[in-house]
């Protein structure tokens, strides 16, 4: 490769830091400026130029914000904004049934339990807010509850518990779903009443009925219960919106909160004091799942610059900029 070609290649690698839309509009032009300013015989970008390009790319990325979500992911999040509160409802139902069956030998009703444990009102209230399509109020409620739960978990040194991790991640998922998607209105429209009923029943049935069949002394009952709810609901969602692009994404999203539970059920985390290894086992799969979904949910290409400028037909060979998109 010639000196010029090598320098150009290296500059292109640095320009890859820029958002796709900016590259499409300005890469060739910027290369022209960079090569015009290069010294004769120069093979590598000067360190100052490299740092300056990366810094410039970061500034533009910060200014333009994250890439818009793919519409299929937006729809999937809209479905999750409805499904996640139902999961909570299922988990709480399971908790009530298993607690009662285990300790009281009988099943008591919601209205008997709630006065004794008002925190259980949270999921019920959330489901009500979501079904009433009060998106902002629901988002505020979830943020408050999730942050409160996180603080409590840290204060009680329970942050290594798969159960808390599940609640916190589910709360974060619901917050993201309410904030970055068209919201419960779209979610309810996509799910439909029958499917909605199917998911609700699956969540509550999984929470309530599978507990006794799956619980063993080695695996704590709450973990089994929560996992059963998540997997049951994910399966119900998959069947309900089967083989659709949105349905697959819903399942992927709902699987994220299940990660810590799966790790706990697998028996990899021993009982006793929480070690760094335990924390890594619980948190890393969750973070990995989240990262994969985040990466997949970004559009590969976007035109952030000149997006609001008049559209011009595709340019002749070479890059192109809309008026004002500099």
């Amino acid at each position: 490769m010639s000196e010029r070609g090598e320098l150009e290649h290296r500059y292109r690698r640095l320009l890859a830091w820029y958002p796709a839309g900016h590259r499409r509009d300005h890469e060739e032009e910027m290369l022209g400026v960079l090569l015009a300013a290069a010294r004769g015989g120069q093979r590598r970008p000067a360190l100052a130029d490299a740092v300056n390009l990366i810094w410039g790319a970061l500034r533009i990325r910060v200014r333009t914000g994250p890439a818009p979500l793919d519409p299929r992911w937006r729809d999937a999040l809209a479905v999750c904004s409805v499904a996640a509160p139902l999961l909570l409802l299922g988990v709480v139902t399971g908790a009530l049934l298993s607690l009662d069956a285990a300790h009281l030998g009988r099943i008591v009703s919601w209205w008997q339990i709630i006065p004794a444990d008002p925190v259980l009102l949270g999921p019920v209230a959330l489901v009500a807010l979501v079904l009433l399509q009060l998106r902002r109020l629901a988002a505020l409620a979830v943020v408050v509850v999730t942050v409160g739960l996180s603080l409590y978990a840290v204060g009680a040194s329970a942050y290594g518990s798969a159960g808390y991790m599940f609640w916190v991640v589910l709360g974060a998922l619901e917050t993201a779903a309410l904030v970055s998607s068209p919201g419960p209105r779209r979610g309810l429209e996509l799910i439909g009443r029958r499917r909605m009923a199917a998911i609700t029943i699956a969540a509550m049935a999984a929470g309530g009925l599978l507990v006794s069949a799956l619980a063993t002394p080695a695996v704590p009952m709450p973990v089994i219960r929560d996992l059963a709810v998540v997997l049951g609901s994910a399966a119900a969602a998959a069947v309900a919106i089967r083989s659709s692009a949105v349905g697959r994404r819903v399942v992927a999203l709902l699987a994220i909160p299940a990660c810590p539970l799966i790790v706990a059920v697998s028996g990899l985390t021993p009982a006793g004091p929480v070690t760094t290894g335990d924390l890594a086992l619980i948190y890393l799969p969750t973070l990995a799942g989240l990262s994969i979904v985040l990466l997949a949910s970004r559009r590969r290409d976007r035109g952030h610059l000149g997006a609001d400028a008049p559209h011009r037909p595709d340019p002749p060979p070479g890059p192109h900029s809309a008026p004002g998109g500099c």
């Binding site: 900016h22 300005h26 060739e28 032009e29 910027m30 290369l31 022209g32 400026v33 960079l34 090569l35 015009a36 300013a37 100052a48 130029d49 300056n52 390009l53 990366i54 810094w55 410039g56 790319a57 500034r59 533009i60 200014r63 610059l305 000149g306 070479g318 890059p319 900029s321 809309a322 008026p323 004002g324 998109g325 500099c326």
Partner: protein
């Protein structure tokens, strides 16, 4: 609402374009001359500033041409850009005049 002062790269770019449309490398060369060689606008700084100025409607693309197989895009000042530069000049002038008066650098002042 009072405007925030222009940062130096933005000020130099607008000043360069006040003399007429220029392409990217022309702007960097001109900015060097305007600043008496004190400021060297690197490509990352130039295009981050152009991105912001374009987004604010202060500069726009004038025309494009291909030279030696390489694209050149010429930018020009918009009317809003000219007004912004003029108000910045007035602001700087008021400040420098006040500073010069206090330092006794202007004849006839204490």
């Amino acid at each position: 609402m009072s405007q925030r002062p222009l940062q130096e790269p933005a000020f130099l770019i607008l000043t360069a374009l006040a003399g007429g449309a220029q392409h990217g490398y022309g702007i960097t060369a001109d900015a060097g001359q305007i600043s008496g060689g004190r400021v060297r606008l690197r490509a990352g700084t130039l295009y981050a500033a152009l991105d912001r100025l374009g987004g604010d409607g202060l500069v726009e693309v004038d025309h494009e041409e291909v030279v030696d197989g390489r694209l050149r895009r010429y930018y020009q000042l918009t009317e809003a850009g000219a007004q912004r530069l003029a108000s910045e000049v007035a602001r700087l002038r008021a400040n420098t005049t006040a500073a010069a008066q206090r330092l006794g650098l202007i004849a006839g002042t204490p």
